[in-house]
Symmetry: C2
Subunit: 320 residues, 2 copies
């Protein structure tokens, strides 16, 4: 959570002068999001989110992210819609950073989703996979298995500072998971960070999906595996099979899974747990001086990784 | 800037059940404010701010703060209006902390106020002083001169870690300022933190004043002195006499200053600089582990203190 960058009133006024979105009524930094600086921007016409892209988001990737939101929004998917300035530009600069304005989405995220909300999340994930077909830019997944060894090496034995035994767990799981990783299941554009705080609900319906800044091309079923990691454990890190069943039911009601995808889900879920464990340990060991964020607890994902290592095959055999 | 406390969706739903303010449409943590956790709460009826009071705000003071906002709002002063629950309570509990909902104020703060905005700020400060008359609760200023020696002692020679020479500056200024502090000028309820980020403007008018959590009973002219410290130095810490003249003009158009207040302003401005220097050094030397805030730069106020020490008498002689 953070506003990393302050926006001066003069810079904001100059920036908004390029847009035709009305007069500013309110402008407040939003706590939340570790990658970018987000501001709630209300004008006399509508509400928006202004995002300043901080250095963890590569500027070269912005046409992919912004283009994807444009593509999805045009197909009725409830994601933020990029707002173009009077010259048709959606990606601009503000306070010496790339910046964009998108539409504000109503709704609230849930920490303890109901089965109905899990089903809707599964539906939306499948909708995202279907609606992104035909999107013409592609972006490799920087956090796919090929990127894991370097991440694991960066933490090395220091991983044990977060939790005794983590370095060994990572080393052995890295070998097993990358060896068993599927190589021939359907691919497409995935969200890759479909966590509960990125999905909004309103009036009993899913009202929005935000934060497309990890989106990339990868196995569609990997997105399901990430989602199951994110939505199907309670605060005590106990697996909630009902949530997973509801997500899969929702997903399959919109996009049928191939047998190869069903067969791969157990290893994909284990790999997704490892991927988030690796970045969380890295962030936990490398908190920048003056950081405005608390790193997420890495052990939330070592628990998931051990669970999917030990129980994954049986769990997905039951679910599918 | 911070959300210190996360509010779970279940706790929020239970909490809001006590209120008659409509259904939640959006709920987001706001970056900004170092004392409390603030959330933007939009319902299908209106927009609000939900505040959780963290430990730096004494629970015993909440009836003063909330009562003052009630009192001022009832008299047409543009401050947040406390929202009462169905049982008439304005101060409640959420996530094991005192909590309150207030109305949302439109407008944006300015980092570089125009002379016109300075004049409006002066008017609003005088309006606040007038409108708070008759408010029946009182609260001593914990950061008045009587509290400074303990604060200075808490940092001691470590003040030099923030800037060479600060410890000596504080020691000598503390003696001079407390000896010269006035003892017979008009008192009342003061805001005591009338900084630029606590004052909103919209459509060329002052639209709101927020953050009453330092408000207390003290010399009214001390509030002017704080405001001149806050509004009348540019980013290079150069004094802006035009801003000060505009603030004083606006103030005096609503509430005439007594000669005793005019005579006291130079020492009050010097004391206000010392008061903010003392708390900023303390915070700078005592950043809590896991803090989500960056401490303000203490040297912004050592520069002001030196300025008012060396030039204050001449400056206020010109201005008044």
């Amino acid at each position: 959570m953070a506003v990393y960058t302050d926006v001066s009133d003069e810079a904001l006024a100059r920036f908004l002068n390029d847009y035709d979105i009305g007069q500013v009524v309110s402008f407040k930094g939003i706590a939340g999001g570790v990658e970018n600086s987000n501001f709630y921007l209300q004008t006399d016409r509508d509400a928006y989110i202004l995002t300043l892209y901080e250095k963890r988001v590569a500027e070269a990737d912005l046409p992919f992210f912004v283009g994807l939101m444009d593509h999805l929004a045009a197909r009725g998917f409830p994601c933020p819609k990029p707002i173009r300035d009077k010259g048709g530009q959606a990606i601009k600069r503000l306070e010496n950073r790339p910046a964009a304005i998108v539409s504000f989405l109503s709704g609230v995220d849930v920490q303890t989703p109901s089965l109905d909300q899990c089903r809707m999340a599964g539906e939306a994930l499948a909708d995202l996979h279907q609606a992104s077909q035909g999107f013409e830019i592609s972006r490799a997944n920087a956090l796919a298995p090929a990127g894991w060894p370097a991440l694991a090496k960066a933490s090395g034995r220091d991983a044990d500072k977060a939790q005794e035994g983590l370095a060994d767990l990572i080393e052995s799981e890295l070998a097993v998971i990358t060896a068993a990783w599927p190589n021939d299941i359907p691919t497409g554009v995935i969200h890759a960070d479909f966590f509960r705080d990125n999905v909004f609900f309103l009036d009993g319906k899913l009202s929005g999906v935000i934060d497309f800044y990890f989106a990339c091309n990868d196995y569609l079923a990997y997105d399901i595996a990430v989602t199951i990691n994110a939505w199907c454990f309670d605060k005590s890190l106990v697996f909630l099979p009902g949530n997973a069943a509801a997500i899969l039911e929702g997903y399959r009601s919109r996009r049928p899974l191939q047998q190869s995808e069903c067969d791969a889900l157990a290893i994909l879920a284990r790999g997704a747990a490892l991927r988030f464990l690796l970045t969380r340990i890295y962030d936990w060991l490398n908190v920048p001086k003056g950081a405005l964020v608390l790193p997420h607890d890495p052990t939330e994902f070592s628990a998931r990784l051990r669970f999917f290592r030990d129980e994954g095959a049986a769990v997905f055999a039951d679910l599918l």
